[in-house]
Amino acid sequence: MEEYVLLMRLDILTKDAQPSPEQMQVYMKQYHDWVGGIAAQNRFVGGTGLSTEGKVFKANNIITDGPYAELKESLAGFITVKAMNFDEAAAFARTCPILHGVGNTVEIRKIVSVHEKGK
């Protein structure tokens, strides 16, 4: 079994782009049902949502506010999944509910050095 990280990026800063509390509730349910579905297949490894605050460190001791390197590409959360191969992990990514939003992305990356824990 391989492990993949699914990085979920969306604009979590622009005021106009933020959902209303009611919408937020709907989104959260969709998100939890999606993660729950992965966990029900025993493919969930770990991961979580992230706060909207943060700082970005750059070369020459430059520090900027915000959880983003580029606007609209803030990392909103990540989860790690188990999958037989890339295609299977991609199937999880494709069904991620944040993709209902235009401009949002899910990036999928294989973890290269997974420690072999007796499976």
């Binding site: 349910k29 939890h32 729950g36 579905g37 966990a39 029900a40 025993n42």
Partner: protein, 407 residues
């Protein structure tokens, strides 16, 4: 109560106290001696009470006899060591020959015994076996029944477990405060397994199974009553067991047959246990950590609400979503999918069920049969038939058959 009823009752409540105190006094090296003295105390009681009647304070009587027997044993041992090895002379008196059976020491010894028996060095089966023997006063035959095996296997298992306790030089003591949370996990797992052994066991003996559940709840109550172990996850486990136990009488009929949740008579649910469950769930909600027991207690709470509301199923679904992230189990995955069908509709649940890869599990086919039941009767039938062919016990087969007949 005459002595014939009283002694088995006292055995259940007092045996473990005497063994814990003596075991603590002697150390694991002589755990068998502690067990022998405790058993012997009850034998003496049977003989003496039969002849001259039950004493005014039977418990105090038992403690006194146990104390005397322990004193005699320690004196004999000291004498023996003195005679065969003169150089041990200055060790005499090292072990206090007076055994302390005060309520405080009884309580402390039992808690310490619980942590020692649930030491991570022991395999789970041995932990449960020893817990049943020493903390619940079960006979070897009763333990064998609970594990669906024979006395010989249990004897061997307990023997090896005690050997291991000695080899690893495990002390009968509470872990340091910093370690308590970590060690508590094994203790809670053992208690929960003990409970499940009674709740889900295929044994036909209903009284016996109920006793296993009550013992598990009693051990958990001891942890709640002790300051250093009265933690949120302990309260959550106790709450969970109260909620489950509230349906104990309703879920098994007079013939020992399993009654499915939907078919249960709500009037047979125990309201006291339901309200106790609510109380401990409340106590569990201090602190900021959510354990699997919190989530399972939450699910169990919603299951005490029989009405099929949207709110109920949405809550159950979200609790399962989180539970599965903490700890996957096939049962939780199946139950989550059922909740999904109630909250989000059957089509979505069928699509999710097909991804589960639990084709060797008969409950998987029960679930599919259930999901197809109002959509495609032929498909539902074939799934129930598949479940029927995989089911291992007649109780479950009969329940599936009854469900099929209703299609």
């Amino acid at each position: 109560m005459n002595h014939q009823e009283l002694i088995p009752h006292l055995f259940r409540t007092e045996y473990r106290k005497i063994v814990s105190v003596l075991g603590k006094h002697f150390g694991f090296d002589q755990l068998e001696t502690a067990e022998d003295i405790a058993s012997d105390t009850f034998l003496t009681a049977t003989q003496s009470w039969g002849l001259s009647g039950v004493p005014v304070n039977p418990t105090a009587w038992l403690y006194n006899v146990a104390k005397n027997k322990a004193r005699n044993y320690l004196q004999r041992r000291n004498l023996f060591e003195n005679k065969i090895a003169q150089e041990l002379v200055n060790r005499i008196g090292e072990t206090d020959s007076e055994v302390d059976l005060s309520p405080q020491n009884i309580n402390d010894s039992q808690l310490q015994m619980m942590f020692s028996i649930c030491h991570p060095a022991l395999p789970t089966e041995a932990q449960i076996g020893l817990s049943l023997r020493i903390l619940c006063g079960f006979g070897i035959e009763e333990i064998a029944d609970a594990f669906l095996t024979n006395k010989e296997t249990i004897n061997k298992r307990l023997f090896r477990a005690k050997e291991k306790l000695r080899e690893e030089r495990i002390k009968i003591e509470l872990p340091a405060d910093a370690e308590i949370e970590e060690r508590l996990e094994t203790v809670l797992t053992t208690i929960y397994l003990l409970f499940n052994e009674g709740y889900y066991s295929v044994s036909q003996d209903k009284t016996h199974r109920k006793e296993l559940c009550l013992e598990a709840m009693r051990l958990c109550t001891m942890l709640v009553e002790n300051k250093s172990t009265n933690l949120p996850q302990v309260n959550a486990l106790l709450s969970l067991m109260c909620f489950h136990a509230s349906r104990f009488d309703a879920r098994i009929d007079a013939n020992g047959q399993l009654v499915l949740y939907e078919e249960q008579d709500i009037n047979r649910w125990n309201p006291d246990l339901i309200s106790k469950g609510g109380y401990f769930l409340n106590c569990a909600s201090s602190g900021d950590k959510i354990s699997r027991y919190h989530l399972e207690a939450g699910i169990a709470y919603w299951n005490t609400q029989k009405s099929d509301t949207k709110e109920k199923w949405e809550n159950i679904l979200q609790l399962y979503n989180r539970l599965l992230q903490i700890e996957y189990s096939p049962v939780a995955a199946l139950n989550r999918t059922y909740a999904l069908s109630k909250a989000n509709g059957k089509e979505e649940a069928i699509a999710e069920a097909e991804k589960l890869e639990l084709q060797d599990n008969h409950f998987y086919y029960v679930l599919l049969g259930e999901l197809y039941s109002e959509i495609d009767t032929a498909k539902a039938k074939s799934h129930f038939a598949k479940a029927l062919s995989l089911a291992k016990t007649s109780t479950v087969r009969q329940a599936i058959q009854r469900r099929m007949d209703k299609l």
